[in-house]
C-alpha cells in the first residue's frame, strides 16, 4: 500500500517542480510585457500625467519583486549546491 502512495507523492513533487520552473520563465516575460511593450502606453492615453506613469511603473515593479521573492523561496529547495 505504501508504494503507490510514495509514487503518487513523487509524481506530485515532480509536477510541482515543473510548474515552478515554468513560473520562473513566466515571471520575466510578464515583466517584459509590463515594461517593454505597448501596454506601457495604454496607461497614459488621455491625460498624460507623469504621476500616473510613476505609479504604474513602480507598482508593477514592486509586484514583480514580491513574486520573485515568493518564487525564489520555492525554487531554493531545487538548488543543490554540491
Amino acid at each position: 500500500m505504501t508504494e503507490p502512495e510514495g509514487y503518487q507523492s513523487r509524481e506530485q513533487a515532480a509536477r510541482r517542480s515543473r510548474k515552478l520552473r515554468d513560473l520562473a520563465l513566466m515571471l520575466p516575460i510578464c515583466g517584459a510585457i509590463a515594461f517593454v511593450s505597448p501596454v506601457l502606453d495604454a496607461f497614459e492615453s488621455a491625460n498624460a500625467d507623469i504621476a500616473h506613469k510613476v505609479v504604474y511603473v513602480f507598482g508593477c515593479w514592486i509586484v514583480l519583486i514580491v513574486c520573485a521573492f515568493v518564487l525564489s523561496r520555492a525554487l531554493r529547495a531545487e538548488i543543490r549546491d554540491k
Binding site: 520575466p28 498624460a48 511603473v57 514583480l64 514580491v66 520573485a68
Partner: protein
C-alpha cells in the same frame, strides 16, 4: 557654503580608513576560516550593487530632470534579468564554477575551444569599454568635490583631485585585489568593503529623498504638485530608445566586466542567486524611488541653469543641511570607488591572464623558463595592470575633460560590452556556435560600435573629424556614422545598437553555420550547454606527461605548498605511496581546471600542452562529442538492448515449454511407476489370498505364513499410498507444519531410536557428534525427525562394507545450520547423483529393500517446506546428505 574643504577631506579620509579596516578585518576572518558572514547571500546581493555607480547615483536625478521617467529603464533591465535568474544567471554561475572561469573574456575563450585570440579580443573590448567609464567616475567625483570648493580660493585643481583619488583607489585595489592569484578564490576584503559602500550609498540617497519629500515638501502629493509640466514633457514611454535602454541595461548586468566579476566570479554558492533574484531588484527599486522627487525639488528650489547631475548634493546644501550633503557626498564617493575598484580587478585579471602571460610565455619559449615562477610574474602584472588601467582612466578624463552629460558615456560603454552578448548566449545555449563565428560577430560589432557611437562621441576631436561625421568616411553617404547605409534612426544610441548588435548577431550565426568546430570546441560546447546534465562527465583528451613535469609546472603556477598538497592528495586517492601520482588523463584535466582558475582557460591549456605530448582525440571521444552521432549511437544501443531482451524472453519461453513437456512426461512416468509399484504387492496379496481360498487343507504354519505375507504386503501398500499422498501434499505446499523450538540433539536421538533395530541387524555404528547439542531450531520436530530417519535408514541400508559407520553432525554457516549425515559406504555413482532425488529412484537393482524410492524425494520436499533444502555432497569417503535449515531467529 559653510562646509570647509578640510572637513570634507577629513571625512573622506576617515571613510576611506574605515573601508581599509573593513577589508583588512574580513581578509583576516577569511584566513581564519570564519566564512559564515562573508559568504552570506546578503553580502553577495549588496556586492552586485556595484552596478549603481556615480553615474546612477548622481546621473539618474539629472536624467530624470531632463527626460522624466527614462532613467528607470536602466534599472528595469537588470530587474528582468534577475527575476529570470533560473534561466540565465543560474546557468552562467554554474558554468563559471565548474570551469573555474576568471572573467568574461575567459568565459568566451573557454567556451570556444580555449581560444587565446578570442580572450585577447574580449579583453581589448572590455578595456576600451571600461576606460571611459572609469574616467566618468573620476569626473563625477571631482565634480562633487568642486561643489563644496566652489567659493574657495585655494581649492585644488580638479585634475589634481582626480589624480589623488585615482592613486588612492589603485592602492586599495592592489592591496586587497591581488592577495592571491586564483581569481576564483574570492576577494573577501574587497567584496565586504563594497557591500558596506552599497549600504552607504543606498542610505545616502534614501536620506536625501526622505528629506526632500517630507523636509522640503509636505509629502509625495505636494512634491508632484510642484512639478513644472513644461519641464517634464510627457512623451510616450514605450519608444525605441526606452526599449534600447532596458535591453542594454539588461545586457550590462551580465556583460560588464565588473558585473561579471561580482555576479559570477565572486559567487560562492548558487543559492545566493535565489536571494539576489528579489533582493537586488528591491535594492534598485529603493535606489530609484526618490529620484523623481529629488529632480522635481531641484528644479523647483534651485536657480535655473543649475547642473541637475548634482541635485543630490546641491538640494541639501541649498536647504543648509551640510551634514546631509556630506552624507550624500559619501554616497556618491562610495558609488564611484566601488565601481572603479571592481572594474580594475576584473580588467587587471583579464589583461594579465590573456595578454601579459601569453606574451611572456611566447617570449620565453626559447629560454629555459622551466623554473621561473609564474605566480610572481602574474601578481606583478596584475598590480601593474591595475595601476595602468586607472592611469588610462585618468588620462581619458584629462583628455576629454567633461565633454558630455554624465549619462551618455555610460550608455556608450554598455553598448560596447554588449557586443559579447551574442557569443555569450550562443555559447550557453547553442552547441553549434563556433570560435570563428564568435570572433566574426564580436569583431564586427566592435568595429561598428566604434564607428557609430564611441568615436563620434568625441565630437570630431579624435580620429573622426567633423566632415566625416557629417558626410561619412571617404565622403560616402552610406558610411555616415549616425546614418549608416542611409538608415533614418534619429537617436544615435538606438541607431548604433541596431547596427552593431544586428551585424554582430548575423555574422555570429552565419559564420558559425558555415564553419566546423574543432574537437576541443565541441568538447567545451557540450560542457557549457549541458552543464546541468549530470550524465555529461568531464570528458578528457588523452595526453601523456610525466608526473615530475606536471609537478614543476604546478609549482610555478600554484606555488610550492599548494602544488605538493594537490599531488599528495591525488597520489593518496590513487593509492600510491609517495608524492607523485600517476599522470592520468583525468588528473591532467583537473590540473588544467585548477590552473585556469589562476591564469585563465586558454593559458592553462597552452601551458599544459607545452609539456604533454600529443593531444590525441580518440574515436570514442569524438563520437561522444558529436551530438548527432551520439544520438544515433544511443538509439542503436537502445535497439540492441531491446532485441537482446526479446531474445531472452524467447529463450525463457522455450525453457518453460520444455519444462512443461518434461513435467507432462514425468506425470506419465509417475503414473506408470505408481501402478507398477502397486501392482507388485497387489499380485502377491491376490495370489496368496487365492491359495488361502482354494486350498482346503493347509497346515497351521503355512496358513500363518501366507496371512503374514498378505498382511505385510497390505502394510507396504498402505505405506506406499501414504507416501504418495504425503509427497503430493508436500509438493503442493498444503502440508501442515507445526513450528516449535526444536533441539537438534533430541531429533537425532529419536531418529537413532527408530532405526536402532535396522542398525543392529546391519551391524552399523551410528555416531551422533557432540556438535548437534549446540543447536536449537525453530522447526517441526516430527518432520525433521522424518528426514533424519529416512537418511539414517538409507545410510544403513546402502552403506555396505566392513565396519559400516554413520555420522550425524551439525555446524553453522551464515544464517543456516548444516546437518550432515555421512556414511563410509561406496557412495553414489557420479552419473546417478542427479537422479537420487527423483521419485521411485532406486539405484542398485539388487539392493531392493521394500521401499518404493520415494524417501529422498519426500525428505527434500520436507526440507524445502521447512525453509531449507536437502542436497547430496560428493565425498571421497562415502556419501554425505546435507540438510540446510534456517537458524532460529532470536
Amino acid at each position: 557654503m559653510t562646509l570647509s574643504f578640510n572637513v570634507l577631506l577629513t571625512v573622506s579620509l576617515v571613510y576611506v580608513g574605515i573601508l581599509f579596516a573593513v577589508a583588512a578585518i574580513s581578509e583576516r576572518r577569511a584566513n581564519r576560516g570564519e566564512w559564515a558572514f562573508l559568504r552570506s547571500p546578503v553580502i553577495y546581493t549588496l556586492s552586485i550593487s556595484v552596478y549603481c555607480t556615480a553615474w546612477t547615483f548622481y546621473g539618474a536625478v539629472g536624467s530624470a530632470a531632463r527626460g522624466g521617467l527614462d532613467f528607470v529603464a536602466i534599472y528595469l533591465g537588470p530587474t528582468l534579468v534577475f527575476i529570470g535568474w533560473w534561466w540565465l544567471l543560474r546557468k552562467l554561475v554554474r558554468v563559471g564554477r565548474k570551469q573555474r572561469i576568471t572573467s568574461i573574456a575567459d568565459l568566451i575563450s573557454s567556451r570556444f575551444g580555449k581560444s587565446g585570440g578570442l580572450a585577447v579580443i574580449v579583453t581589448i573590448l572590455a578595456v576600451v569599454g571600461t576606460t571611459p567609464y572609469i574616467a566618468l567616475q573620476l569626473q563625477s567625483l571631482t565634480l562633487s568635490f568642486s561643489v563644496f570648493t566652489a567659493d574657495m580660493e585655494n581649492a585644488p585643481a580638479p585634475a589634481l583631485t582626480a589624480m589623488w583619488i585615482a592613486m588612492g583607489m589603485a592602492l586599495f585595489t592592489i592591496i586587497f585585489g591581488t592577495r592571491n592569484i586564483d581569481a576564483n578564490e574570492r576577494h573577501y576584503g574587497v567584496v565586504t568593503a563594497i557591500a558596506l559602500e552599497a549600504i552607504v550609498k543606498l542610505l545616502a540617497l534614501l536620506s536625501v529623498g526622505i528629506f526632500v519629500v517630507w523636509g522640503v515638501a509636505e509629502g509625495p502629493a505636494d512634491i508632484f504638485s510642484r512639478m513644472d509640466p513644461q519641464a517634464f514633457q510627457t512623451h510616450h514611454l514605450f519608444s525605441p530608445r526606452w526599449t534600447t535602454l532596458v535591453f542594454l541595461s539588461a545586457t550590462a548586468i551580465i556583460c560588464l566586466p565588473r558585473m561579471f566579476q561580482v555576479v559570477v566570479v565572486e559567487s560562492s554558492a548558487e543559492r545566493h542567486l535565489a536571494t539576489a533574484s528579489w533582493a537586488f531588484p528591491l535594492y534598485l527599486f529603493l535606489m530609484s524611488l526618490f529620484v523623481m522627487p529629488i529632480a522635481i525639488a531641484g528644479l523647483d528650489i534651485l536657480p535655473e541653469g543649475s547642473n541637475p547631475d548634482l541635485f543630490v548634493l546641491t538640494v541639501p546644501l541649498a536647504a543648509e543641511r551640510e551634514s546631509l550633503a556630506l552624507f550624500a557626498f559619501l554616497g556618491g564617493f562610495s558609488s564611484a570607488t566601488s565601481m572603479v575598484i571592481v572594474a580594475a580587478i576584473a580588467l587587471s585579471t583579464m589583461v594579465s591572464n590573456h595578454m601579459v602571460l601569453p606574451a611572456w610565455l611566447y617570449l620565453s619559449k626559447n629560454r629555459n623558463s622551466e623554473t621561473e615562477d609564474v605566480r610572481r610574474l602574474l601578481l606583478r602584472s596584475r598590480r601593474l595592470s591595475i595601476a595602468g588601467i586607472l592611469a588610462l582612466g585618468y588620462f581619458y578624463y584629462i583628455f576629454t575633460g567633461g565633454l558630455d552629460a554624465l549619462a551618455s558615456i555610460g550608455l556608450i560603454a554598455f553598448l560596447g560590452v554588449a557586443q559579447v552578448l551574442p557569443a555569450l548566449l550562443g555559447g550557453l545555449f547553442w552547441k553549434n556556435a563556433t570560435r570563428v563565428g564568435a570572433m566574426a560577430g564580436i569583431v564586427s560589432g566592435f568595429i561598428v560600435w566604434l564607428y557609430t557611437l564611441l568615436l563620434p562621441s568625441f565630437e570630431g576631436e579624435f580620429l573622426l573629424n567633423d566632415a566625416t561625421l557629417e558626410f561619412g568616411l571617404f565622403n560616402l553617404g552610406a558610411l555616415r556614422p549616425y546614418a549608416l547605409f542611409g538608415s533614418s534612426i534619429a537617436d544615435p544610441l538606438v541607431h548604433a545598437t541596431a547596427w552593431s548588435l544586428g551585424i554582430n548577431t548575423i555574422l555570429f550565426i552565419g559564420v558559425s553555420l558555415f564553419t566546423v568546430p574543432s574537437a576541443i570546441e565541441r568538447l567545451q560546447a557540450v560542457q557549457f550547454v549541458n552543464v546541468f546534465d549530470r550524465s555529461i562527465s568531464s570528458r578528457t583528451f588523452s595526453r601523456s606527461a610525466t608526473a615530475e613535469e606536471l609537478l614543476v609546472l604546478a609549482q610555478r603556477i600554484l606555488g610550492r605548498d599548494e602544488a605538493f598538497r594537490l599531488f599528495e592528495t591525488e597520489a593518496e586517492a590513487q593509492g600510491k605511496a609517495g608524492v607523485l601520482p600517476e599522470p592520468t588523463n583525468d588528473f591532467i584535466a583537473s590540473l588544467e581546471r585548477k590552473f585556469s582558475g589562476s591564469v585563465g582557460a586558454a593559458t592553462a591549456h597552452a601551458m599544459i600542452n607545452q609539456i604533454t605530448s600529443g593531444e590525441a582525440v580518440s574515436v570514442e571521444e569524438l563520437i561522444a562529442v558529436a551530438d548527432e552521432t551520439a544520438q544515433i549511437m544511443e538509439y542503436s544501443a537502445r535497439l540492441e538492448s531491446q532485441s537482446k531482451a526479446l531474445a531472452e524472453t524467447a529463450q525463457q519461453l522455450t525453457q518453460a515449454n520444455e519444462q512443461l513437456k518434461a513435467l507432462g512426461d514425468q506425470k506419465d512416468e509417475f503414473l506408470s511407476q505408481v501402478s507398477h509399484e502397486l501392482r507388485t504387492p497387489m499380485t502377491s496379496v491376490r495370489s496368496f489370498s487365492e491359495i488361502l481360498r482354494d486350498t482346503r487343507e493347509l497346515d497351521e504354519d503355512r496358513l500363518r505364513n501366507f496371512s503374514a505375507i498378505i498382511h505385510d504386503e497390505s502394510i507396504r501398500l498402505t505405506r506406499l499410498l501414504d507416501e504418495i499422498l504425503d509427497l503430493s501434499f508436500l509438493e503442493s505446499g498444503k502440508v501442515q507444519i507445526n513450528l516449535a523450538q526444536v533441539r537438534l540433539q533430541e531429533v537425532a536421538e529419536r531418529a537413532v531410536q527408530s532405526t536402532q533395530t535396522m542398525a543392529e541387524q546391519a551391524g552399523t555404528l551410528v555416531v551422533l557428534e557432540p556438535s548437534l547439542a549446540r543447536f536449537t531450531l525453530r522447526s517441526d520436530f516430527d518432520r525433521l525427525a522424518q528426514i533424519l530417519i529416512n537418511l539414517l535408514g538409507n545410510a544403513i541400508k546402502y552403506g555396505s562394507g566392513s565396519d559400516p559407520e554413520v555420522h550425524v553432525s551439525a555446524r553453522k554457516r551464515r544464517a543456516e545450520v548444516l546437518i550432515d549425515v555421512s556414511d563410509n559406504g561406496p557412495g553414489i555413482p557420479k552419473e546417478a547423483e542427479n537422479r537420487i532425488f527423483e521419485k521411485f529412484a532406486r539405484l542398485a537393482q539388487g539392493n531392493s529393500s521394500g521401499s518404493a524410492g520415494l524417501g529422498l524425494a519426500i525428505s527434500r520436499e520436507i526440507a524445502k517446506n521447512l525453509g531449507g533444502d536437502l542436497v547430496y555432497v560428493r565425498s571421497r569417503t562415502g556419501s554425505i546428505f546435507r540438510i540446510r535449515l534456517p537458524l532460529a531467529e532470536r
